[in-house]
Symmetry: C2
Subunit: 424 residues, 2 copies
C-alpha cells in the first residue's frame, strides 16, 4: 500500500468518524420511539424505492457476471422483489423489539447510602466490514440504530451500487424521523487502505466487526488497535453418548448436517460412543447416503458406515461447509471432550444423551460459546435464542460470546448518586 493512499484513507475515516461521533451523541439521547419511527421510515423508503434499487443491483450483478463470479456468489448478490420485501419486514421487526438502551442492569445501595446503578448505554460508533450480500447493509444499520449506535459500513466492492442505493433509502428514512443521516454512513470507495484505517481509528470508532472470509478477519485483527469482535469459523461437533436415545441421536446427527450445510453452526464432525455405534451408525449412514453426504470416518467405524471413506488427519477440525462430514468413534465422554478441545472452534458442540451426569460433565468441560444437550447445533443463532436480529456470532470470549443481538452493541455506565458523599 502506498503511503499517500494510506494517508487518504486515514483522512476519509477521520472525517466520517467525526461526523459519526456527533451523530452518536444525538442517538444516545434519542427516544426509543424516535428510533423505531426511523426504522419504519427506512422500511417504507426501501419499499418505495424498490425499482431503482433493483436497477442499481442489476448493474452490480452484470459486472459480477463479467468478472466471472460463481453462481453462489451471484445468488447472494442478487436482489429480488421478494428479498426487498424481506429487508423491509426485517426492519419493521427490529422496530418491534425491546430497546436495550436505558435498561438498569443492576442497582443497589452501599452501606454508606450511595446508590449505584449500572445502566445500559450505546457503545457509540460501530464499524462493520462485510462482503457481498447487500441486505446486510440494511440489517446492520438497523441493529446499530436500534441499539443507539452510529455506524460506518464498508460493504464488498461487488455490491457497491446496490449498497449506495440502500444507503440513500436509509438516509431518507433517518431524515424523515429527524435523525442525522450521519448516523449511518457507507464507505463509498473500494480502496483497500480503508480497512486498516478503520481498524486504527481510536477515539472515533468504538468497535469493529469484520464479517467474511478468514483473510479479511485476520487482516483486521492484525491491524487493529480498537476492539474487534469476530467469528473465525464454526467446526461444530455432535457427540452421541452411549446413553443417547437412538431415535433422537439419529435425527439430530443427520439434521444438524443436512438442514444447512453452508452455515457456521452446521455439524462438521460426528463423534459416537463405541457402545452405541452398532445401533446408530447403519441408520445414520443410510440417511447420509440418501442426502448425498460424503462420510469420512476413522478406521474403526468404516465397517459400520456403508460407503464411508477413510478420514485423513486434516479432516478433523475441518470446516467443510459442504455435503461432507467427519465421523469418529470414541470410547468415553472424556475422549469426546478431548477431541472437541483439540479440534473444535469453540463455536457450538452438542451432546446427545439421557445421562444427567454425562450431560453435566459435557456442559462443564466443553469450552464453547454454545453447548447443546439433545438439540441440534443449528439452533446456535440469534433468532433462535430470541435475541432478535443477529449482528453476527462471536467466537471470542470478551464482551460477547456466541450469537449477538442489539444488546451486544451496548456497554454500560455506572451512575452513582449521593447527597454530598465524600471519601473519608
Amino acid at each position: 500500500m502506498r503511503a499517500d493512499q494510506a494517508a487518504m484513507a486515514t483522512e476519509l475515516v477521520r472525517t466520517m468518524g467525526e461526523r459519526a461521533r456527533v451523530a452518536a451523541r444525538q442517538l444516545a439521547v434519542v427516544s426509543g420511539a424516535q428510533k423505531n419511527l426511523a426504522l419504519n421510515q427506512i422500511a417504507e423508503a426501501i419499499l418505495g424505492g424498490a425499482r431503482s434499487l433493483l436497477m442499481e443491483n442489476a448493474k452490480d450483478v452484470e459486472a459480477a457476471k463479467k468478472d466471472g463470479l460463481n453462481a453462489a456468489m451471484i445468488g447472494r448478490l442478487t436482489l429480488t422483489e421478494a428479498k426487498i420485501q424481506q429487508i423491509a419486514v426485517g426492519l419493521k421487526e427490529i422496530a418491534l423489539q425491546r430497546d436495550p438502551v436505558g435498561e438498569t442492569m443492576e442497582a443497589y445501595e452501599r452501606p454508606n447510602g450511595l446508590r449505584i446503578e449500572k445502566r445500559r448505554v450505546p457503545l457509540g460508533v460501530v464499524a462493520i466490514i462485510f462482503e457481498s450480500r447487500p441486505n446486510v447493509t440494511a440489517d446492520a444499520a438497523a441493529i446499530c440504530l436500534k441499539s443507539g449506535n452510529a455506524c460506518i459500513l464498508r460493504g464488498g466492492k461487488e455490491a457497491l451500487s446496490s449498497n449506495r442505493a440502500i444507503a440513500e433509502r436509509i438516509h431518507e428514512g433517518l431524515t424523515a424521523a429527524g435523525i442525522s443521516p450521519d448516523a449511518v454512513q457507507l464507505v463509498d470507495t473500494t480502496d483497500r487502505a480503508i480497512v486498516p484505517a478503520l481498524a486504527t481509528a481510536e477515539g472515533l470508532i468504538d468497535l469493529i466487526i469484520p464479517r467474511g472470509g478468514e483473510g479479511l478477519i485476520r487482516s483486521v485483527v492484525e491491524a487493529a488497535t480498537i476492539p474487534v469482535i469476530k467469528h473465525y469459523k464454526g467446526v461444530c461437533h455432535v457427540y452421541i453418548d452411549k446413553a443417547a436415545d437412538p431415535d433422537i441421536a439419529v435425527k439430530i446427527a443427520v439434521s444438524a448436517k443436512v438442514d444447512g450445510v453452508g452455515v457456521c453452526n452446521t455439524e462438521e464432525c460426528l463423534l459416537v460412543h463405541k457402545d452405541i455405534a452398532p445401533k446408530v451408525f447403519p441408520r445414520i449412514a443410510e440417511a447420509f447416503r440418501a442426502k448425498k453426504v460424503e462420510m469420512r470416518a476413522d478406521q474403526l467405524s468404516l465397517g459400520l458406515l456403508q460407503n464411508a471413506k477413510l478420514a485423513k488427519e486434516t479432516d478433523w477440525g475441518h470446516e467443510f461447509l459442504d455435503y461432507i462430514i467427519a465421523i469418529k468413534q470414541v470410547a468415553s465422554t472424556d475422549e469426546a471432550i478431548a477431541h472437541i478441545t483439540k479440534y473444535g472452534s469453540q463455536h457450538t458442540d452438542a451432546i446427545i444423551t439421557n445421562d444427567l451426569i454425562a450431560a453435566r460433565k459435557f456442559i462443564a468441560e466443553v469450552d464453547s460459546a454454545s453447548v447443546m444437550v439433545n438439540a441440534s447445533t443449528r439452533f446456535a443463532d440469534g433468532g433462535e435464542y430470541g435475541l432478535g436480529a443477529e449482528i453476527g456470532i462471536s467466537t471470542d470470549k470478551l464482551h460477547s460470546r456466541g450469537p449477538m443481538g442489539a444488546a451486544d452493541l451496548t456497554t454500560y455506565k455506572y451512575i452513582v448518586t449521593g447527597n454530598g458523599h465524600i471519601r473519608v
Copy 2:
C-alpha cells in the same frame, strides 16, 4: 529487538501458555470451596514465609536505591510486616466473596420448548503486566483464581526478587489445595520481548491487562492481536451546577482533589456555573490554599479565586496527579458537558446539583464509565462499588467499563437443552 530474542520470548510464552491452558481447564471445574481453600492456604504461606519475603524484597529495594529510583517508587516497592499482613487479609477477603462462576445470568424457554441458559464461566487464561508494587502479584493471582482463570503475571523488573518469593508462596498454597501451580505463573525474566509475545499469544491467552504508564499500555495495544482491557488515564471533572447546594459543592470540590491527589479518580478539573461562582469560589479557594493546591483558572474566575494562576490551554484535559487543579466557569450545563466531552477521559465525572432535570441531562449526555451525582469522583473504585477486590479500572467500553472485579474476568456460555430438537 533482535529476531532470536523475539523467537525465544515467543517460545517461552508458548510453553507457559500451554501449561496455563491445562491448568485453566482444571480450574474451570474446581469447586468454589477448593478455590477458597487455595486462597486461604496462600495467605497462610505468605504469612509463614514473611521473613524470607522481606529478605528478598530488601534485595530489590537495595538495587532500586543503587539505580537511583525516586522515594515514591521505592516506597511502592518496599514491603513491610504490615503490608504482608495486608496482603494476607486481602486474600482471605477474596475467599469470602461470592464466586462469580456458575451464575445463571439469564434463563428462559423458547416457544419451541428449547431451554436457553446463559451461564457465567471463566475466561480461561489471563495475562497481567504490571509495574513495581509487589503486592499486585498476590492480588492479581487471587482475583484470577477466584474467577477460575489461570494467569500469567509479568511484574516490573525492580520487583523481580520479591515477585519470585511471592510466587513461590502462591505455588505452595495452590499445591496444598490440590490445584496445579501452573494456575499462577510468573514470567521469570525481565526480557522486554515478552510483552509483544504475550500480546500475540492467540489461542493461549484470552485477555491481557496492562497496568502502568501510558507507554507500556500503548505498546501492548499496538502489538496485541488478543483482547486488551486497559485504562489510559483519569481526567475527572466536578461540575458545580447553579442549583447546587453550596455546602455540598464546596465539600465535594475540595475533597475530590485533596483526599487522594495521585490516583486516577481524583478531580483534575473543576467547572462552576457562573451564577453560583461568586458564592462558592472564595470558600473553595481558601480551602485549596490551606491544602497547598495550585489553582489554574480561566480569566473570568481569577478575580474570585485568590492566588489562582491563569490556566493555559494545556491545563484543560491534563492529568496532573498532583496538588494542582484546573478551574473554569461555564454559562450552562450544556457548556460543562461540552467541556467534559472535549477534554475528559471518559473515566469519572460528577455533577453537584439539586436540579433533577440538570442531573438527568448530565447523566444521559456525559459518556463516562462513572457519572456521579452529588458524590465525589473518588468513589469510582471496585471496593466502593462493592465489587470486591479490584483488578483495574477500564476506560474501554467493550466487555468491562469502569472498576473491574472478579466477575469481569468471566465470560459466559449458552447452554441449550432440548429433547431431540432439530431445526425444520
